[in-house]
């Protein structure tokens, strides 16, 4: 927590905003769509782009992953070092297999990460992401969740957020700044 406080003071966040912890100080552990365990240390020295969502989400999540796929295509091989991950906020339904079937529809560089409820909660808190289960009348449920795409420099420092409604013309330069 000390590290987080120091970081926030140094970079003077906008009023009320709380920045994600640097990747190098994160402690989560998750499982990818190929059933491999993934830790923040695996991402050191690589630029990182992370988005939280869930595969039962019909609108925001496929739209964001389509956008991300277009950005990656525009960047081409330049983005090959970039770690791109969708972290599920619905681990109850999003098993590694469910994520594999889902991310397979988008750019092959996009990973899907899930875990136990506690593992996901820890990752979300380190990214400063919020999510909430919304129950519907028929016993089904959906999830509200932070929709931005988080960017980090190769040294793990938080770089910027691409907001859900940001124009593509602004998204690609933001990603490019994390790549060099």
């Amino acid at each position: 927590m000390l590290g987080v406080g120091a970081y926030r003071t140094r970079s003077r966040p906008a009023l009320g905003a709380v920045l994600p912890v640097p990747i190098s100080e994160m402690t989560w552990q998750l499982t990818d769509e190929k059933n491999q365990r993934v830790r923040p240390a695996d991402w050191i020295d690589r630029p990182v782009m992370v988005f939280f969502g869930f595969t039962w989400c019909p609108d925001v999540c496929p739209t964001t992953l389509s956008d991300i796929s277009l950005w990656l295509e525009e960047l081409g091989a330049e983005a090959d070092r970039l770690i791109v991950a969708l972290i599920s906020v619905d681990p109850e339904r999003d098993t590694p297999d469910a994520l594999a079937a889902y991310v397979g529809n988008f750019d092959p560089r996009i990973l899907g990460l899930t875990g136990t409820a506690d593992e996901v909660a820890r990752a979300a808190s380190e990214f400063r992401v919020t999510y909430r289960r919304v129950d519907k009348d028929d016993g089904d449920y959906t999830m509200d969740h932070t929709a931005g795409v988080f960017l980090f420099y190769p040294d793990g420092r938080f770089a910027s957020i691409i907001d859900f409604h940001d124009d593509r013309r602004f998204a690609v330069p933001k990603i490019r700044r994390t790549l060099s």
Partner: protein, 157 residues
């Protein structure tokens, strides 16, 4: 071979025309009905469409129904303080002289209780109910999960 090619051309034309055809109901015209592939039938499908009102009277889309889903509903994706949610939309205004889009990241039809998984190239009817104009049915084309909308020559999307 010739026949195969011809068949392929025909089916492409047919599927492109489906989402691009315009259906009118009084002063309303409805076009570009499309949806996305679903993985299985357990996940909800989505429905997007463009509606324009060339008349002098405001109208509103108040509901949808389709044989493809047991519980279709109108939703609006709202991003507030960075958090996305999709509350039920009781009614989507279609003001006089304006057009409204059900499109990714905004208003959409949420197709819960799908009768079958939606596969790329499939199509299904959706009936739209308007407060004043009544009901109209459009054909909806299922595009890939990555699709951003149908490719129509009139470039409405």
């Amino acid at each position: 071979m010739k026949h195969l090619l011809l068949a392929a051309t025909l089916s492409l034309t047919a599927s492109a025309a489906l989402a691009c055809e315009t259906v009118t109901l009084g002063d309303l015209s409805v076009e570009h009905g499309w949806s996305k592939v679903t993985i299985g039938a357990g996940r909800p499908g989505v429905f997007y469409v463009s509606i324009s009102n060339v008349g002098a009277t405001d109208d509103a889309l108040v509901g949808i129904s389709t044989p493809a889903a047991g519980m279709p509903m109108l939703h609006e994706t709202v991003v507030k303080d960075g958090v996305a949610s999709m509350p039920h939309a009781m009614s989507i205004p279609v003001p006089a002289g304006q057009s409204v889009q059900l499109s990714p990241g905004g208003y959409h039809g949420m197709l819960m209780g799908l009768t079958a998984a939606l596969k790329e190239g499939d199509s299904f009817p959706v009936t739209l109910s308007f407060e004043k104009a009544g009901e109209v049915t459009v054909n909806v084309e299922v595009l890939s999960l990555r699709a951003e909308g149908p490719d129509c020559a009139d470039a409405g999307q």
